[in-house]
Symmetry: C2
Subunit: 131 residues, 2 copies
């Protein structure tokens, strides 16, 4: 288990927010909804030990705005259809994942935007499926 | 750079294939298209140093069959809309990624199913966006 309230460090629970993202049906204009979501997530993460990392593209462009959540040794989860109101949900999801000994974000207690917005997940390095 | 022709090892170029996947418009029946894709990918990977890992779910259920590709230190790529004919493309994509010093699968030379089937990507652990 990774303490979600530890200070930022390598392997801390991390939210990756795409700063280029917009909804597919929106025109291109600055500030991008993804950039606004990133800023809101930085604010929401203050004092939680959750690290927020801005990225240029998570390749989920048709279903953005997008973010991913991962801890060291956990599965990585990609979410789409987000907006600025979901910053707190991303931080809560990262904390939930940090507390999951099996590296899987539990469905129970998972913030609603991280249920309906789930795009895909990727196992941790060196994952082996239990027989 | 990770040698794609090295023997299987921790951190080797790896293809994760969802064995539960089917196309969303197909009825549930065994064998699952994902399981067939996994078996074909194991065959295609023989002698290449690419490791194939069967997984129960990549949470890309509405756009399956699904697979992910990653090397140690690389971005992870999730693909959907695959079928058994794409086993070789997955192995070729893993080798392409293994040869990419920046951990990013190049678009040029990427097998066509890994272009049109791209679902999302996730940065490596400890990723920091270049300023």
């Amino acid at each position: 288990m990774i303490a979600a309230d530890a200070g930022p460090s390598k392997g801390a629970p991390t939210v990756y927010v795409c700063i280029t993202c917009k909804r597919a049906d929106e025109p291109e204009a600055d500030p991008r909804p993804g950039a606004l979501l990133a800023a809101a997530t930085v604010s929401a993460a203050e004092g939680t030990g959750v690290v927020v990392c801005r990225v240029q593209c998570l390749a989920n462009c048709t279903r953005g705005p997008s973010a991913a959540v991962r801890c060291n040794g956990s599965w990585a989860y990609i979410f789409g259809g987000l907006d600025i109101a979901h910053a707190g949900a991303l931080v809560d999801g990262a904390k939930l994942l940090a507390g999951a000994a099996d590296g899987i974000m539990p469905w129970r207690g998972r913030p609603e935007p991280l249920k309906r917005g789930l795009i895909a997940r990727v196992p941790p390095i060196n994952f082996e499926e239990p027989e």
